[in-house]
Each structure stands twice: as structure tokens, then as C-alpha cells.
Symmetry: C2
Subunit: 280 residues, 2 copies
């Protein structure tokens, strides 16, 4: 594997309808298009198989990887020879708990990682009240995986507001952070670009934020505006609110140049402060 190999991402900003089978079919269609356009890694949005509705997550929950969505993603990633970050879906474990989980399949269709959202979305904003914790359990692990010579950190939506896990993953070598997320018309214009770009610049990493497109009539309106941000905070590729797919490539020469010019990861005052994952 070449150290300087580029990696082409497809960000899939699909509308999520109420029928999981229809959402899987749409995702499959987008994944095929992503591969036709040359993607090495396709990223689906948060909760791409069912409505983003805390009351209904248990109803739509399925095991991973042996549920209908896991089987579809595994089969398709193997068939297409393309890795897939499966946005997220309500995952039910053997004990009956439900998580907001982002599964990752490699080009052989193997489930190589699964991130259970660590920070649940419990907020009470004007016009936006949402409490995931009423039906979901929270994850307890950082999620980092390697793909085609790139180390990739993974978090889901609200996780991105917390600098700690991203810093820890960057210190562990992550060069790209993938964030399936569904900000909304309140938090989206206020904070979506801000937090994606902040995590990129403070860690000098690429960040890919992938949202559903807003769906007319849905109880929760996603913000859209999926984007790939480079390690200097510049936008490599982006969408607005429409349904669609956009491609963008990681460039290790760019990553190295930014890290040489702005060596913040090396300039941390490790003699003065430390950040630790307690499970280490």
C-alpha cells in the first residue's frame, strides 16, 4: 500500500423517508453511483434507514451485522469493492438495548468497525426539543479504523461538539474524521460548519460531515450541508440542502504540508496538560 495514496470519498446526502426498505433501496442506488464515480469510501448519513424520531427507534432497531441493513451494506460493499460507512441506524444488541450506531464495511464486505454514539442528543432549544436518551443507550468506545493506508476516526452527530474524543483520535494517528450527523434548522446554521471546521483545524485532519437532506413532512428536518473539510479548514466538497452525492479526495501531501506549517499537534503543552481515555 502506497503511503501517499489518495482516498476518494463520496458523501451521500439522501432524503430519509418513512419506509426502511425504500431507504435501503435508495441507499443502494446512491452507493452504486458513488462507485461509478470512483469513490473508495462512501459515507451515508445519520439514521438513513428510518425517520429520526426518538419514539420509533426501538421499532426500527436491528442487529448488526445480521439485520437487513447490515446484510445489504456488507453485500454491496463486497460486490462494489468499495468501503462504506453506513451512516447510522438503530442497532439492537443481544440484551435488547438500542444504540445509534455507525457500521463500517471494508471492500470485502467485512464489518471492520461500529461506532455507538457516545454523546446522546438531549437538548431543549427553542423549536427543537429532542431527547435520544429516552430510547437509546450510549456507546462507550472511541472508534478508529484503517483503510487503504489512512487512519480514520468515526463519531456520530452530537459527538462532534465535544473536542475530547477527536483530539484523542488525532493523537492516535487519525487523519480523517467521519461524522454522520443530522443537525437541524436551529443548530445547523448556527453550528454545523463551525464544529466540523473547528475539529479539522485544531487537529489538522480532514473532516467529512454527512447529513440527510431535509425531507418534506418529516417531524425532524435535517440541515443537510454535508461537506468535506481539509486540515486547514477549507471546504473540499459540499452540498446545500438538496438530495445528492458529492465526491472529494484526501491528499496526504496537503495534510503533511498543513501539519508542517501549523504543527499544533506537536505544539501541545504535554508538560502542562493531558487528556486521557479512561478505558486505556
Amino acid at each position: 500500500m502506497s503511503d501517499d495514496k489518495s482516498l476518494t470519498l463520496a458523501l451521500i446526502q439522501m432524503r430519509v423517508e418513512s419506509d426502511p426498505a425504500a431507504n435501503r433501496a435508495k441507499a443502494e442506488n446512491f452507493l452504486r453511483r458513488a462507485r461509478e464515480h470512483g469513490a473508495d469510501l462512501a459515507v451515508l448519513p445519520e439514521m438513513f434507514v428510518c425517520p429520526y424520531d426518538q419514539a420509533r427507534f426501538p421499532e426500527f432497531a436491528e442487529p448488526l451485522p445480521d439485520g437487513p441493513t447490515g446484510r445489504m451494506l456488507s453485500s454491496l460493499s463486497r460486490e462494489l469493492g468499495m468501503a462504506v460507512v453506513g451512516g447510522s441506524l438503530p442497532e439492537q444488541d443481544a440484551a435488547g438495548r438500542v444504540f445509534n450506531t455507525s457500521p463500517v464495511f471494508d471492500t470485502q464486505g467485512r464489518l471492520i468497525a461500529a461506532h455507538r454514539k457516545v454523546h446522546l442528543f438531549d437538548v431543549d432549544l427553542p423549536g427543537m426539543r429532542f431527547f435520544e436518551s429516552t430510547t437509546l443507550s450510549a456507546g462507550e468506545e472511541l472508534t478508529v479504523f484503517d483503510l487503504s493506508g489512512w487512519r480514520i476516526g468515526l463519531g456520530v452527530c452530537y459527538d462532534v461538539r465535544f473536542p475530547e474524543p477527536w483530539r484523542l483520535m488525532a493523537l492516535g494517528g487519525a487523519e480523517l474524521m467521519v461524522v454522520p450527523g443530522a443537525f437541524n434548522p436551529v443548530t445547523g446554521p448556527a453550528h454545523w460548519d463551525l464544529v466540523l471546521r473547528a475539529r479539522a483545524v485544531e487537529n489538522t485532519v480532514y473532516v467529512a460531515g454527512v447529513s440527510p437532506a431535509p425531507t418534506p413532512g418529516a417531524s425532524y428536518q435535517a440541515w443537510g450541508h454535508s461537506k468535506l473539510v481539509d486540515p486547514f479548514g477549507e471546504i473540499v466538497a459540499s452540498l446545500e440542502r438538496q438530495e445528492g452525492l458529492v465526491l472529494g479526495s484526501l491528499d496526504r501531501t496537503r495534510l503533511r504540508a498543513v501539519r508542517k506549517r501549523l504543527p499544533v499537534l506537536d505544539q501541545r503543552r504535554t508538560d502542562l496538560y493531558s487528556i486521557r481515555w479512561s478505558k486505556e
Copy 2:
């Protein structure tokens, strides 16, 4: 002291010329105007007494508080009954080391805090090469002080790129972060607003970033764009590149409302990760 007392800040975006005495006279003039406009706390920009030139910091260095700048700020804050964050200046300690230090004077003219820049600005960007560490020593302390019922964290310029100290100060109760800083025409448009707003939103605190105005002919051109950001990331008051002064007020009702609606400080997964100041 009332728990709900507002605090009015004046952000002083002055041009810095080559003569320290002239810069002190200009700062004095701005501080008097700030008080006339009702400021409780005035903030001067980074290196407001001398050119921002790493080679010349030792030449302009002075002790604190018993140098010409410290005496001026002490006397004036007492006379005006207004607290002052004295931007920063090259501070020489008894051992002859020079720091980039931000002193804070209360309304009685007492030096109640002094932040020695912890992260020195050593970067090699296209068109922007600067190495503070060739002439400066780095500080080793977090700096938090209390004023009129508000707890305030203080850092200098490059410090703001590192989430760790700001997180630690917020967890220690800081509600306002003050950042005298001099980003430049490369880093300013790319990152100044981003890092100020990121630190505000991730910690739900006010952030005041105060820069010199660019000075024609100077070897280092500051970016300007001083601003006060609220805990939701909204801009309360701002300047562009011109020399001037702007006022903005902190509102504890607003701070509380944002923290209630977006309780990220309480939602940190302290069971999974921790951040520590090693000198604690």
C-alpha cells in the same frame, strides 16, 4: 455583588506604532474613551506597546507591574475605576527571561492576574514565518480571575488554537474567555473567527478576541476583526480592520439560557475521558 450583574466590555483595536511611549499614550486615550462609554472592563490587543517583531521583544521588554506600561495601566485603572486587560507586552522577569504577558488590573489599580502565553507562535506558513520561541519563554499556568461576579479565563493569541486550556478553565467556572491576539492576513481570514466561535460554543462561554488594527508599513500585519462572541456563537459586537473601539455586554440570563438548552458542559462523558492540568 449581584449574581445577575451584566458586565460591559470595551474591545480596543488600536494600531501599534514603533514608539512605545506613543502607544501608551494612545492606549490611555482609548481607555478614557472606553470608560466614558460605560465600560466595566477594557481589553487592549496583543503587543500593544511595541511592534510585533520577535527580534525586538527583548529590546522593549519591561518588568510587571513596575515598568512604564504596568505603572500606566495601574494608575489609569484606579483613576477610572475600570478594570483593564492590558493586551500583552514583552515582560522581563528577574532572571532576564522575556514572556508575552497579558496583565490584568482591577478597579483599584491592583495587578490581579498576569497570563504568560503558554503556546508560543512558531509557524512556517506561506508568506508568514514567525518564531516567537527564538526570543520568548513560554508560560506554564492557566490564568483565571474574578471580576464583578464574573469568572474570566485569559489566554494570548496562539493559545486559542488549543482546546485543552479553555476546556479546563470552563470546567473551573469561567464564563468569559479573553483573548488578546494578533492573527495575520494568512491565519486571520482562515481561522480567527472559527477558533473564537469554536471555543465559545464548545464551552458555552462568552469569548472576547481583541486584535491590533493593521498598521501600514509594519513588518507584521495584524488581522483586526476584534469581536465579542456569545455562548451560542453569535457575534455580540465586532470591528473590521479599522482602528477603533467597540462595546458589548455579557448577559448572565443569556448564558444560563444557552447552558440550559445546550448543556454540553454537563454532557461530557467524564466516565470515559478526562482532561487534567498536570500542575493541579
